[in-house]
């Protein structure tokens, strides 16, 4: 079987002043008809630019394919002129993007946007086009196709938008589909459905798929062939089974070794002294409409749990489940409508700002976005020392403590002199943790602390969190959407859906025998659930 797409010695050059000369270096790979090839790598590995080079979507002239060939049906795409490439795009080569909201034009109905493809590439009549769109929307399992076609993008859910995008990509039955992180912005249950859909359509149409992702779980679910990339170079390529279960290269091994295992880690018994007790927490958001009734969203309904000293409670759920609302109420960035948040018996839920100030110290937060959570204009040392100084510590002592904490989170104390932008995402997250620890808290609320990080860095930050918890006797409330992460760090897990805690219990119990139907659905959607992450630690020493 001859390859559908054959990339030979591709180089993508970056503009002067970038951190390296080539985003992609000497890459050779191929996609056969009916085959899903996954390109996996961490951020900055050049995987997305590879996809864009294939589609002719590089931001030229600053970033361009400087050498190599991309053969498609015997023609070198890089040698074609703009017009010939344009005709190929959409008809033979189609692409779906990560963020369906920005990939669709918000001012046109979904149906019209899909029709546009037909208008450009075919001579179908209006009736035929309408009919084709309807059929396709049906094929991607969207309910009520005529209604969806007449809707604007913002009226659809994220999953529906991505389905519409897939419909748009597949309408001319392209030979190659390029999918650039198509499920990363979606919830895990939606992700599972979209992956299933891609697989189903690809099999039916015998499409070759180039699937870009950072998530090995997703790879395990759909890949036939895997290409692992690092710093623009191909590290290892081969059949899915071989790469996933018997990786050869040390980098691949390290990457796979860093994936959190779904089997809950056995935990030591935490102490039984209760630190935090939350009862009947309620929070609603009301959006006032100028005319007509107000919109009310129940973000937290009768949420109750308790946390012992040294314990990690995981709150898991999809977007909109209310888990972040609960986190924000715990640290009192938000005032709950009713209910109690007791810290050692003192209810902080209703305290005024002034009354709250002495208690602020005791509950601190680690934020999600390592880029937005540190003030870019302050030195790292100041960022960490600010808290204690606000609470009345002396400058000299606070500075000394900041340096000590930097050591504790695994950074060099000299980092105190630098500004946040000099650090990578994982290092910034360590600084964020040090800032929270500077307040000497009893409870740490971590809101998706690793979801913006690459998997290898993720593992290190998680390790750091459980290490400091054990050393300092902290209690942690860990908010996450990633069940693999939850399995590794939590002692107890609370599953939230639509503002309610639907199920709560020890991590081993929830993971092995979920009772609530939503929990069951959630667990069956975890990408790569059937793939047992191989234990590579023993072999790693040898490699």
């Amino acid at each position: 079987m001859s390859a559908l797409v054959d990339i030979r010695n591709l180089y993508v050059s970056l503009p002067d002043g970038a951190d390296r000369a080539h985003a992609v270096e000497d890459l050779s790979m191929s996609v056969n008809p009916g085959e899903i090839v996954c390109v996996v790598g961490e951020s900055g590995s050049g995987k997305s630019l590879t996809a864009r080079a294939l589609m002719g979507l590089l931001p030229e002239p600053r970033v361009r394919a400087s050498a190599g060939e991309i053969h498609f049906e015997g023609r070198d795409l890089l040698a074609l002129d703009r017009e010939e490439r344009r005709l190929l795009r959409g008809e033979q080569l189609a692409m779906i993007f990560q963020e369906p909201m920005t990939a669709l034009n918000p001012l046109q109905t979904v149906g019209k946007q899909i029709e546009e493809v037909l208008l450009v590439h075919t001579r179908m009549s209006r009736r035929e086009r309408r009919e084709r769109v309807r059929k396709l929307l049906e094929e991607v399992h969207l309910p009520d196709p005529p209604r969806i076609a007449a809707s604007f993008p913002h009226e659809l859910s994220g999953g529906q938008r991505q389905r519409a995008m897939i419909a748009m990509a597949l309408i001319l039955d392209p030979k190659v589909l390029v999918a650039d992180e198509p499920t990363t912005a979606l919830d895990v249950t939606t992700q599972a459905q979209i992956l299933k859909l891609i697989r189903e359509l690809q099999e039916r149409h015998n499409t070759g798929v180039l699937f870009i992702t950072h998530d090995f779980g997703v790879v395990a679910d759909i890949a036939h062939k895997i290409v692992v990339m690092q710093h623009g170079r191909m590290v290892e390529a081969g059949p899915a089974d071989q790469i996933l279960n018997r990786p050869r290269e040390p980098y691949t091994r390290a990457l796979i070794g860093a994936i959190p295992d779904l089997h809950p880690r056995s935990t030591g018994r935490p102490e039984t002294r209760e630190v935090l007790k939350v009862a009947e927490l309620e929070k609603t958001y009301t959006r006032k409409n100028f005319l007509g009734p107000a919109n009310t969203v129940h973000a937290a309904k009768q949420v109750a749990f308790s946390l012992n000293r040294g314990e990690t409670l995981g709150i898991v759920g999809e977007s909109g489940s209310g888990k972040s609302t609960v986190a924000r109420c715990l640290v009192r960035l938000m005032q709950p409508d009713s209910g109690a948040i007791e810290l050692d018996g003192i209810d902080i839920a209703g305290l005024s700002r002034t009354a709250l100030r002495p208690h602020r110290r005791r509950v601190q937060m680690v934020f999600q976005d390592p880029y937005a959570s540190l003030n870019p204009r302050r030195r790292v040392g100041d960022i960490i020392a600010e808290g204690p100084i606000t609470q009345g510590a002396r400058r000299v002592e606070a500075d000394a403590r900041a340096r000590e904490l930097l050591g504790l989170v695994g950074l060099d104390p000299s980092a105190a002199e630098r500004f946040p932008h000099e650090f990578s995402g994982g290092q910034r997250q360590r600084i964020g943790i040090a800032r929270a620890l500077a307040m000497d808290p009893e409870v740490l609320v971590a809101d998706e602390p690793v979801s913006a990080l690459d998997v290898s860095v993720q593992a290190q930050v998680l390790m750091l969190l459980s290490d400091i918890r054990d050393r300092l006797g902290l209690s942690i409330v860990f908010i996450t959407h990633d069940l693999r992460v939850a399995a590794q760090v939590c002692d107890t897990v609370a599953v939230m859906s639509k503002g309610e805690v639907v199920e709560m219990g020890p991590v081993a119990e929830i993971f092995t025998a979920p009772k609530h139907s939503y929990t069951k659905e959630l667990f069956s959607s975890i990408p790569g659930r059937d793939w047992q992450v191989p234990d590579l630690t023993a072999a790693q020493g040898a490699a």
Partner: protein, 296 residues
């Protein structure tokens, strides 16, 4: 795991000097900004040495009225025989002084209003923004004329009038910046520390908004100079100080017989305003380097 760990930043952290030279490098990449800066420096020097060059009052009669330029007097004399160059030199002092002070007043006031509105939101925001809108609905030059006419023309009243018509734009700009910063996670972390609001506003958020404020402020100086010239052209300037607008106004009736009376002060206004705008553009490029890259 060694190959997965990220390298720490190497070398010493960039100090103040290094950051200043870096800023200068970015600024000088914009050639026209450098030209603007040179012109502006020239005007500044002229303003600084005016009392030494022309120790007498610029209103003093120097010689024959309406003498041609490039003779005894480099730019000639006006209808009453005053030396035009002396007027330009002294007028530079007036224009820059009024431009700077009015801008500082407008920037300080606009920043305070914008910061409070953006940070607190809710009814405070509503109230402050409605007030701002009231000021914005009145055409600014007409409003300035009105204010000066009410307060009687003097340097102080002109400065107040210019500041009053200039602050709303700044308030809106600062409010927008604060709105976007308000919900950044680092601000939330500061709230969790129990940091008082004023400190979050001044120490944490404001430094992050300084670049647009500086750029807008520098452009505001140019507008202020234009408004001042306009006012004194209409005879609403301080009668005791020489100003470019006044010179243009004084010469307009003899424009066809003695073109130089209007022209040279007019060119001075043009060059100064142009220079400030170019410098403002250069500051924008240097302070927001990403915007420049996007332009290609």
């Amino acid at each position: 795991m060694s190959e997965l760990s990220e390298p720490l930043p190497q070398g010493t952290a960039p100090g103040f000097l290094e950051r200043t030279t870096n800023f200068w490098r970015l600024f000088t990449r914009n050639r026209s900004a450098v030209v603007g800066l040179c012109i502006l420096l020239g005007v500044l020097i002229l303003a600084a040495i005016a009392p030494f060059l022309y120790p007498d009052s610029p209103f003093k009669l120097a010689g024959r009225p309406m003498s041609e330029p490039f003779g005894d007097w480099i730019f000639g004399t006006d209808t009453l025989g005053r030396d035009i160059m002396a007027g330009i030199a002294h007028g530079a002092r007036t224009s820059l002084l009024i431009g700077l002070i009015a801008t500082v007043v407008a920037v300080v006031f606009g920043t305070i209003v914008g910061a409070l509105a953006g940070y607190y939101g809710g009814w405070i925001d509503d109230l402050l923004m409605r007030v701002t809108e009231v000021f914005q609905t009145i055409p600014s030059f007409v409003f300035a004329i009105l204010l000066v006419a009410i307060m009687s023309p003097s340097i102080q009243s002109i400065i107040i009038a210019i500041a009053v018509v200039s602050w709303p734009a700044l308030a809106r700009l600062v409010r927008g910046e604060f709105l976007s910063m308000r919900n950044r996670e680092f601000v939330q972390a500061n709230i969790l520390m129990g940091m008082p609001d004023w400190k979050i506003i001044v120490v944490q958020i404001l430094p992050n908004c300084l670049s647009p404020i500086i750029v807008a402020g520098s452009l505001l100086v140019a507008t202020a100079i234009l408004i001042e010239s306009g006012l004194s052209f209409l005879g609403l300037g301080d009668p005791n100080v020489m100003s470019w607008g006044f010179q243009v106004g004084a010469g307009r009736s003899v424009l066809r017989r003695a073109w130089w009376i209007c022209t040279f002060p007019g060119v001075a206004i043009l060059l100064t305003v142009l220079a400030i705008n170019l410098v403002g553009e250069g500051l924008n490029d240097a302070l927001n380097p990403r915007l420049r890259e996007r332009k290609g």
